[in-house]
C-alpha cells in the first residue's frame, strides 16, 4: 500500500543532507511552510542552498533558518523588504551568497527543472545587469537570454489538503510556488491542514498529482 503520510514533521524532515538545495514555497506569508522550516532548523542540516521568492521576513520561518548560519546561498527574486533585517545583516557581512533572479525566470527555471527542459531562451532581463555574462540570441526578431533550470534535492511546500498518495490541493494565493517546486525536487515534503481518504478529492480539482510528492504531514491551521 502506498502511504506517504508522516506522523510528525520530524519524521517528514528525516534524512536531509548537508549541502542540499532546498526549495521553500511561499510568497510572503502565503504558502510559507512554517512548521517544516522550523523542523529543518531542528533537523540541523547545514551548508544549504535555499530557493525562495524572498529572503525571510521578521525573525521567524525562513529568517530564523538564515539566522542559524546554515544557509550558504539563497536564490531569490526579492530579498530586500522592510523586515528582512536577518538577510540584510548576513549579506552585508558577506556571510551569505545571493543569486538574484527575476521572478518569472525563477518560476520558469523551477518549472523547467520539473519538466526536464535543458534550458530555455527568454526576453526577460535582456540588456540588464541580471543577464550579464549570459548567452543571448535573437529569436523571432527579439533578443533573448539563455536560462538554465533550477533543480533541488528537497522541496518544502504548504498545501491545504492531501491524501496518502500525495495528491494536493492548495488554498487561494498560497498555491504560488508549491506545484512547480514539487515537480523540481527529488524529495517533496508537503504540509497540509487536512488529510482526506483516497478518492475523496475531486480528481478534476487535484492541483499537484501525487507522483510529485514523497511525504505528507498534517499541521494545525
Amino acid at each position: 500500500m502506498i502511504d506517504k503520510i508522516c506522523t510528525s514533521v520530524q519524521a517528514a524532515l528525516a534524512g536531509i543532507a548537508d549541502g542540499a538545495t532546498v526549495m521553500i514555497g511561499g510568497f510572503g506569508g502565503a504558502g510559507q511552510p512554517g512548521e517544516l522550516i522550523d523542523a529543518l532548523i531542528e533537523q540541523g542540516a547545514r551548508d544549504l542552498v535555499v530557493v525562495n521568492n524572498n529572503a525571510g521576513n521578521g525573525e521567524t520561518g525562513l529568517a530564523a533558518l538564515l539566522k542559524t548560519g546554515r544557509v550558504r546561498k539563497i536564490i531569490c527574486s526579492f530579498p530586500r523588504q522592510v523586515d528582512s533585517q536577518v538577510f540584510d545583516g548576513l549579506y552585508r557581512a558577506g556571510k551569505i551568497e545571493l543569486e538574484l533572479v527575476p521572478q518569472g525566470n525563477l518560476a520558469e527555471r523551477i518549472r523547467a527543472a520539473g519538466a526536464g527542459i535543458g534550458a530555455f531562451f527568454t526576453p526577460t532581463g535582456y540588456g540588464t545587469p541580471l543577464a550579464d555574462g549570459k548567452e543571448t540570441r535573437e529569436i523571432g526578431g527579439r533578443m533573448q537570454v539563455l536560462e538554465y533550470p533550477i533543480h533541488a534535492d528537497v522541496a518544502l511546500i504548504k498545501a491545504e489538503r492531501g491524501d496518502r498518495w500525495g495528491n494536493l490541493t492548495y488554498r487561494m494565493t498560497a498555491r504560488n510556488f508549491g506545484p512547480i517546486m514539487a515537480a523540481a525536487a527529488k524529495l517533496t515534503i508537503a504540509s497540509v491542514h487536512e488529510i482526506v481518504p483516497l478518492g475523496e478529492m475531486d480528481p478534476e480539482s487535484v492541483v499537484t498529482p501525487g507522483l510529485y510528492v514523497q511525504r505528507v504531514v498534517k499541521v494545525p491551521r
Partner: protein, 212 residues
C-alpha cells in the same frame, strides 16, 4: 500650472484602460489606478503571485492572509476570478496575454528603456521581483511617475543612468505634468496640465518632445 496629485494621475491612467482589458498594476503608485476604474467597466486585474480577477481590499476584520496581492496586501476575489501557480502566472505575463501593465519608474529613456528596480548604490541590497517580466511581457507597458525628482531633475532622460529593467519596453508615460507616448519618431505629448506650455515641458524635461 498645477501638478496632478497621485489620485489625479491614477484617474488619468484609468481613463485609458478599456472595458475587457487584462491589467497588472505594479506596487505603489500604479495600485491606485484600480480605485479610479469607473463602476461597471469590467477590467480583469492580474497579480503575479497567482490571481486573476482581483477585487478591492477587504473590509477591516475580513482579511484572509492566503488571499494577497503582489504587494503582500490582503485583497478579495471577484466572481469569475481564479488562482494559479507562479509559472502559470508569469506565463500570462511573459506569453503576452496581458493587455497592459502599469509600473512605477526611476527613469525612462526617450527610446523607452526602463529603470525601476535598483538605484545601483554600492551598499543597496538589490531586489527585482517581477519588474523585468512585467516590463517586457505585457502588450503595452505604461509608466506612471512624477515628472521630476525631488531635486528637480527630469526622470525622462536621453539614456538611463540607473541599471535597466528592460530595453525599449515602455509605450506611454503618465506624469504629474503630462501624458507622453514613446514612438519610433520620438516623444509625442498627448496632454499636459493646465497652464503648462510645450516649451516649458521640454525645458523641464531636457529632451525633445512634440505635440501628438
Amino acid at each position: 500650472m498645477k501638478k496632478l496629485d497621485r489620485n489625479q494621475m491614477a484617474a488619468r491612467v484609468a481613463r485609458d484602460i478599456p472595458e475587457g482589458a487584462v491589467v497588472n498594476l505594479g506596487i505603489g503608485l500604479p495600485t491606485l489606478v484600480a480605485n479610479h476604474l469607473p463602476q461597471g467597466r469590467e477590467v480583469l486585474l492580474h497579480s503575479e503571485n497567482g490571481v486573476l480577477g482581483m477585487g478591492p481590499a477587504p473590509a477591516a476584520g475580513h482579511e484572509d492572509w492566503d488571499l494577497i496581492n503582489a504587494g503582500k496586501q490582503p485583497v478579495t476575489l471577484l466572481p469569475g476570478g481564479s488562482f494559479f501557480h507562479h509559472a502559470d502566472s508569469f506565463a500570462m505575463m511573459r506569453g503576452g496575454h496581458l493587455d497592459f501593465c502599469v509600473l512605477g519608474a526611476f527613469q525612462v529613456s526617450v527610446s523607452g528603456d526602463l529603470a525601476n528596480w535598483h538605484t545601483g548604490a554600492p551598499d543597496a541590497i538589490p531586489a527585482v521581483g517581477g519588474a523585468m517580466d512585467l516590463a517586457i511581457g505585457a502588450k503595452k507597458t505604461f509608466v506612471m511617475m512624477e515628472h521630476l525628482t525631488k531635486s528637480g531633475e527630469s526622470k525622462i532622460v536621453p539614456v538611463c543612468t540607473y541599471p535597466l529593467t528592460g530595453v525599449g519596453c515602455v509605450s506611454r508615460i503618465y506624469t504629474d505634468l503630462a501624458t507622453i507616448d514613446i514612438t519610433p519618431q520620438g516623444l509625442r505629448v498627448l496632454d499636459m496640465v493646465e497652464g503648462l506650455s510645450l516649451e516649458e515641458l521640454v525645458r523641464l524635461s531636457g529632451v525633445p518632445m512634440q505635440q501628438a
